[in-house]
């Protein structure tokens, strides 16, 4: 059926004048396709919205790139994760990872990229979180974006923890053991949750089944859903402006169009990140230790991944009965982070804002010091 211009079949939509002006001419293939699509799906307002999406330009604007960069690393994780799943067998975990590393062409590279991209993603998320914190992007009306972001950081750490067990080597076995034992000590739901995750009184290959399903089904679905919410909130509410920029008179505020000026400036950052990933993976490929021996002694100098080092060190600082104090501290920090937007509703000049800034600096310094301390001790 052919619909001539101006004469539409039933249920077809009229393509807005504004869209007709933007589309290539009707006799060109793209112009024809654009008209046909808009006549069937009246999405011009969305296209128009995205066309006009703007990013504020100021000296802190580079921090806006962290979210996109984290998303880029996440895409790499999905892609390499799917590739690893082709050969990974939860029933013979170590053997199948060994096959990926030793036999499958480029298998070692894919696994190492998955490892490095996970680490860089978490690092980028921390930078994203702290930059949003210090630019006070969490303030009303963006409390929801902040909370979803915190949840995403937590889920990504759960990604790291669950993925760590899957190769079933010495390191992964004892790291999971330690992590679940700590969880078990937490009052309340701790013992129940730890036993549910472990699938029994000890870490066995049964635990792998649970961690595998978490790592490749549950967490990806949850993270994808939350990323969707996070991005939707940002589109609806627009980019947050730091106080210094918001205070400028309208005529002095400079913006960049997202499509494609800002987007184009993100591409070199992603390419550089990709080059870094491949370089790190080639220079320091992820090792596969000996197969886990549940009755063997833990290897010397065993430590968690760097993003758990701060917690690890904090727990070491509170020996014996004081361990509960350490754990309480660990529970309180994320809780306080979640509450910040509801405490800081103030105007820019308010004292509360200053206190929140100081607390943020203290948290950042504490986190870095504990991480480094955990690393070298």
């Amino acid at each position: 059926m052919q619909a001539r211009e101006g004469e539409m079949a039933d249920h077809m939509h009229t393509v807005p004048e504004e869209a007709l002006k933007e589309l290539p001419p009707a006799h060109k293939a793209l112009g024809k396709l654009g008209r046909a699509l808009l006549a069937r799906f009246p999405v011009w307002p969305i296209v128009d919205f995205l066309r006009n999406k703007k990013v504020p330009e100021h000296r802190h604007a580079a921090w806006y790139m962290m979210g996109g960069l984290a998303l880029f690393f996440f895409a790499i994780q999905v892609f390499t994760g799917i590739l690893l799943m082709v050969y990974y067998r939860p029933a013979e975990p170590w053997q199948s990872v060994q096959r990926i590393v030793m036999e499958v062409p480029y298998g070692n590279l894919m696994r190492s990229i998955h490892h490095w991209s996970a680490n860089l993603m978490i690092l980028t998320l921390f930078l994203h979180m702290f930059s949003a914190y210090f630019m006070k992007a969490y303030r009303a009306p963006r409390e929801g974006t902040w909370l979803v972001g915190l949840a995403l950081l937590g889920l990504c750490m759960a990604f790291g923890f669950s993925g760590y067990l899957l190769p079933w080597d010495d390191l992964s076995f004892f790291a999971t053991n330690v992590g679940l034992t700590e969880m078990e000590k937490a009052p309340g739901l701790g013992p129940w949750l730890a036993s549910l995750l472990r699938g029994g009184p000890a870490v066995t290959t049964d635990t792998i089944g649970r961690f595998y399903v978490l790592h490749v089904v549950v967490l990806p679905l949850a993270v994808l859903g939350l990323i969707g919410m996070h991005l939707l909130f940002v589109q609806i509410q627009g980019m947050s402006e730091p106080d210094s920029f918001a205070a400028l008179p309208a005529c002095q505020k400079k913006h960049k169009k997202f499509f494609f000026d800002y987007f184009a400036s993100e591409i070199p950052v992603w390419l550089a990140a990709f080059a870094l990933l491949v370089a790190l993976s080639a220079i320091w490929p992820r090792a596969l230790e000996a197969e886990a021996d549940p009755f063997g002694a833990a290897p010397l100098g065993i430590k968690p991944e760097w993003y758990f080092l701060a917690q690890y060190q904090a727990l070491k600082l509170f020996p014996g009965k004081l361990e509960y104090a350490g754990m309480a501290l660990m529970g309180i920090v994320p809780l306080l982070c979640a509450l910040v937007p509801f405490f800081d509703r103030a105007v820019p000049s308010d004292r509360r804002g200053t206190w929140i800034e100081r607390a943020g600096v203290a948290l950042l310094v504490g986190f870095v010091v504990l991480t480094v301390w955990g690393w070298i001790s």
Partner: protein, 157 residues
């Protein structure tokens, strides 16, 4: 209007060449990216199942399992599935068990070989005698050594 159009067209020539070059470069880059992914996914060529003498052990059946005429079993070797049986005359035979019609595994039924998927029938030589199979089953030379069975690489035609 005409002037600005001309200027634009001249400018477009250089721009088009630049974009074309950029397009080619990105395609080369994408190719470089996809090659490791393809190699990662491409199945590795299976090892030759036959040894230097052209012999391969049969798994899943021993000589004693089919000692009597008219006995047969589904079995296999590293190169694929087999039906191994003794004819009513007592001759030991091995045929590929992969039906030449749609690839199901056939079954030895005393006097003939049947495929349950679409009703194909082969005789004990492996010749397709009834139903949809278009070709005979591959026949392997089979030998017994110390109670174990071995098949040999089929002679090239």
């Amino acid at each position: 209007m005409t002037d600005s159009n001309t200027t634009r067209r001249e400018g477009d020539g250089g721009r088009r060449r630049f974009l074309g070059g950029l397009g080619l470069l990105s395609m080369a880059w994408a190719g470089g990216l996809l090659y490791p992914v393809y190699r990662y996914l491409a199945p590795t060529i299976p090892k030759d199942p036959f040894d230097a003498e052209g012999k391969a052990p049969v798994e899943g059946v021993k000589a004693e399992d089919i000692a009597q005429p008219g006995q047969g079993r589904n079995a296999g070797f590293a190169g694929g599935g087999l039906v191994v049986f003794r004819t009513p005359e007592g001759e030991l035979r091995a045929l590929s068990s992969k039906c030449t019609h749609a690839g199901c595994n056939v079954e030895f039924q005393g006097g003939s070989i049947h495929c349950h998927c679409h009703g194909g029938v082969y005789d004990l030589e492996g010749k397709n005698v009834s139903g949809p199979p278009p070709k005979p089953l591959t026949r392997y030379r089979v030998a017994e050594q110390g109670g174990l069975l071995y098949v040999y690489r089929p002679d090239k035609a």
